[in-house]
């Protein structure tokens, strides 16, 4: 423990002094030095609901503002996923790993010309911990006590965590908002009304590379270059290169595609089923298709194992590991990949998403599509088949349950249909039930009225971000919700792993701990994973410096993207 701490600290100190020696502006490396001018135009689904980062709860809002208008102290690199400095130029932590000092970048200005200082960081934390402002960041920053934070000087802040935390750097990557604008409304109790979509866009003030100038509901958001931005290229030219960044708001995926074909947009996220066809037209259309590999999003089926909500005998089947493994063998991943993704997806076996190389354990147990194996496992568990070919349990009850998912989602509906067919083939009676999304989630998170649900989650890099799912007391511990105590031995072990995991500071040791968790989940299959889509983007050839990744997307380095005329 001690060794690992000093190791990390040394790294941090090197970083601190190393950067201190550089000029204040932050140099962003890129393949080529760009030219100024031009614009990046993309299309996005759905309108933002607010421009206030602490009221924003959905990606259609956060995609607009985070990273473009508002920036955190620390962020992750879009390619390597390693932490890198943003508004904090460097940081260090105490011997016991609880006290963190952040040295803020000097000479960073808000869009309205006021300088960014430690006061803004302190103010942002005040907002996060204000019980009147329900936001996405607070829950992740209660351990369960809040962080103690104080200003040391104009450019230094100090956070004291209740314990040493491996996730500290992720936890402090909250976007900083300007005190000089929002403090007054906050004191008047109007913070929750601030920066709604009816605010004139130029009044949304951040430190980011872009400044909002236009918002037309259901049409577009236009941002212009921030001339005083703190990043520079290798030659010291201020970034970003492009003059304007436009986000069109499309009603659906097709509209986005048409906009790209019509050259209204110049970057487009390509669906797997479109890749070949778009590749055929790449030359005529003057674009290149980039592959980003598998995404962080997941797709799985979960059985409700909670006897408080599921009556016997159903719950006994669902609690039976062999039953779940039999179902896992009945997931026809290849057909799903072909039908929904045009062959452009990969099977998922571990709870860690495929692109997460740092934590992924490659050799977990797998369950290839094999109905014979399913039959064998079911027989082993004590299930029998009647003369009519229907499946009966050890007490002679016919295996019959409802499989739900949310309507209008092609992947999930297709998965539901295929799985239901295969399970019917095994002799079960499966009632498929596509339903309203909100309703489905209400059932899922309350535990009531469901047997099996197909749904997906989007993961992050650090497994601890999923502790709400994996720990027994978590609000998203779907298969056994609303329990304070672990119900099985393996769940107890998973709880432990997460408790330990978040306090280990040495990266390599930490990864090993999470390997064990992946093996447990792959063996017990509380969530039966399906497939992970591969992601692709098409960008016009004149856009340079693109480094497309599943984690960062096509715009993580928007600062250095430039248009070659």
């Amino acid at each position: 423990m001690k060794r690992s701490l000093s190791w990390l600290m040394a790294a941090a100190l090197v970083l601190a002094f190393g950067l201190g020696a550089l000029a204040q502006p932050y140099v962003m490396e890129a393949e080529t030095i760009g030219q100024y001018g031009g614009e990046i135009r993309i299309a996005t689904l759905g309108d933002p609901r607010t421009f206030n980062p602490y009221l924003a709860k959905e990606t259609s809002s956060t995609d607009v503002i985070i990273g473009r208008i508002f920036e955190p102290l620390i962020g992750r690199n879009g390619v390597t996923t390693a932490h890198e400095p943003r508004l904090a130029k460097a940081w260090e932590f105490s011997e016991d790993g609880t006290v963190w000092t952040f040295y803020l970048r000097e000479g960073v200005y808000w869009h309205d010309g006021v300088e960014f200082t430690a006061d803004d960081v302190i103010f942002t934390l005040d907002i996060i911990y204000d019980p009147e402002i329900p936001n996405n960041y607070r829950d992740g920053m209660l351990y369960p006590d809040p962080i103690q934070y104080r200003k040391i000087d104009r450019y230094t802040v100090e956070f004291t965590f209740p314990m040493a935390l491996a996730t500290a750097m992720d936890d402090v990557s909250f976007p900083i908002i300007p005190k000089h604008i929002l403090e007054q409304p906050w004191k008047e109790g109007r913070f929750n009304e601030m920066w709604g979509v009816d605010t004139p866009p130029w009044e949304i003030i951040g430190t980011g590379p872009f400044q909002m100038v236009e918002y037309r509901p259901s049409e577009r958001i236009v941002m212009t270059r921030n001339p005083n931005y703190w990043r520079v290229d290798a030659e010291g030219n201020p970034l970003p290169y492009i003059t304007r960044f436009v986000m069109y708001i499309a009603g659906n995926q097709d509209a986005m595609r048409l906009m790209f074909d019509n050259r209204e947009t110049n970057i487009y996220g390509v669906r797997g089923t479109e890749v070949d066809e778009m590749q055929d037209n790449a030359e005529r259309g003057g674009y290149t298709i980039y592959e980003g590999g598998p995404t962080f999003s997941t797709l799985f089926v979960v059985f409700n194992q909670n006897e408080l909500f599921v009556p016997s005998p159903k719950v006994e089947w669902f609690q039976n590991k062999l039953f779940r493994q039999a179902v896992a063998h009945a997931v026809d991943k290849q057909s799903l990949i072909d039908i929904v993704f045009g062959g452009r997806a990969v099977p998922q076996w571990s709870p860690v998403s495929a692109p997460n190389r740092q934590f992924l354990k490659e050799d977990v147990k797998t369950y290839p599509y094999d109905l014979e194996e399913s039959r064998r496992l079911l027989a082993e568990a004590g299930f029998t088949w009647g003369p009519d070919g229907r499946l009966y349990d050890w007490n002679g009850n016919h295996v019959e349950f409802t499989l739900s998912t949310n309507e209008g989602n092609l992947q999930r509906e297709t998965f539901m249909t295929l799985l239901a067919e295969d399970l019917t083939e095994l002799g079960m009676t499966v009632h498929t039930n596509p339903m309203d999304f909100n309703l489905l989630v209400n059932q899922l998170t309350s535990g009531e009225n469901w047997d099996a649900i197909i749904i997906g989650l989007t993961g992050g890099v650090d497994p601890d971000g999923g502790s709400n799912v994996w720990q027994s007391s978590g609000g998203l511990h779907m298969w056994n919700i609303g329990r304070d105590e672990p119900q099985t031995e393996w769940e107890a072990r998973v709880d432990e792993i997460f408790e330990i995991g978040r306090t280990i500071l040495d990266p390599e040791e930490r990864v090993k701990v999470y390997y064990e968790w992946q093996d447990i989940i792959a063996e017990e299959v509380p969530l039966i994973y399906a497939v992970t889509p591969l992601v692709y983007a098409a960008a016009r050839n004149e856009i340079k410096n693109i480094e497309y990744t599943a984690y960062g997307g096509s715009l993580h380095n928007i600062h250095v993207l430039w248009i070659d005329n």
Partner: protein, 328 residues
């Protein structure tokens, strides 16, 4: 007449309260709440979700929720604004959101209404005067087809051909990038360009219906005794049709004019949806899908007011056009 208008306007108040109560009950019965997306977010605890529900008053009994909404939605002593409540998703007054989209929808509906009247009336007159001619038969058949094709299907077909033939028409949106820098004339052209597809869809159905109605009204009038008298007096056919019959044939259309006003904001939902046009329908449909029921409620209220106003205007115009009608 003034008294009549005043009374009708006053009548709208209890009616609106009734509608708001009915609509609120409907929305209240809708299962689930708008927090689904948040519940699935691993970063957010169940306690935070509960806190948000409390903040929006979702944990209160029905009648309290209604009163909380009512108090905020309508003018009250101390707060004379009408804001139709606050949207759950947007944290802004519903009226603001509706304001964003209302102009687009209004423009679309008005364009197609004006177009369909301009096309349908002359065609209807032509078809009636040349009853059973080849032209009449073609037009009547077309009209029948026009009213029979569902808007959303027509929109799909039009989109299909636009994509197939790579027609240079914008798909979705109401304005182009850089719209604000255009001069007035360019702005009009830009708007018109974006209106082509949705207008085509909307106009087809309404033109067809209106034309059939115009034709049959005129035929009906031409069979009346006074027209026979006029003809017998030796008046030219032109005078008979345009001076005598037409006036009376158009009167019943005024009721439809009322409908037209009523549907200015609510008649284009499906068309907007299919053609990605940024209108009220899309806003409200989105609100419905997200369980943002203050937003949906606001839409229902605005739609209802338009409907009532439309009927009132139609009645007033009817009285003005037809001296036999008197209101007390």
């Amino acid at each position: 007449m003034h008294a009549f208008i005043l009374r009708r306007l006053l009548n709208m108040i209890p009616l609106l309260i009734g509608i708001s109560f009915l609509s609120f009950s409907i929305m209240y019965m809708a299962p689930g709440d708008f927090l689904g997306e948040l519940r699935l977010n691993p970063q957010i605890s169940a306690e935070t979700i509960e806190m948000m529900r409390a903040q929006y008053g979702l944990d209160k009994p029905f009648i309290v929720q209604y009163w909380l909404w009512f108090k905020e939605a309508f003018p009250m002593p101390g707060n004379w604004k009408i804001n139709l409540g606050r949207s759950f998703q947007y944290h802004t007054p519903v009226t603001t959101l509706i304001g964003f989209y209302a102009f687009n929808t209004f423009l679309l509906s008005l364009t197609s209404a004006v177009l369909s009247w301009l096309i349908a009336i002359p065609i209807g007159i032509y078809a009636a005067r040349k009853q059973y001619s080849f032209g009449d038969k073609v037009l009547t058949t077309l009209a029948f087809m026009g009213v029979s094709i569902p808007n959303f299907f027509l929109a799909l077909i039009i989109l299909y051909f636009v994509v197939r033939w790579e027609l240079p028409l914008p798909i979705g949106g109401a304005t182009s990038l850089g719209y604000d820098e255009l001069n007035l004339w360019q702005k009009i052209v830009d708007r018109a360009h974006h209106l082509i597809i949705p207008t085509l869809v909307l106009t087809t159905g309404s033109t067809a219906g209106l034309m059939r109605y115009m034709r049959s009204n005129l035929l009906d009038t031409l069979r009346q005794d006074y027209v026979r008298t006029a003809r017998a007096k030796g008046l030219s056919e032109r005078v008979v049709v345009y001076k005598h019959a037409l006036r009376n044939a158009i009167n019943p259309l005024i009721t439809f004019f009322g409908f037209e006003i009523a549907s200015l904001l609510s008649g284009a939902t499906l068309t907007e949806f299919v053609t990605s046009y940024p209108g009220l329908g899309r806003l409200l449909y989105g609100g419905l899908r997200a369980n943002d029921y203050h937003l949906v409620l606001g839409g229902l209220m605005v739609g209802s007011v338009m409907l009532m106003l439309g009927n009132l205007i139609a009645d007033i115009m009817l009285a003005w056009a037809d001296p036999r009608i008197r209101y007390q």
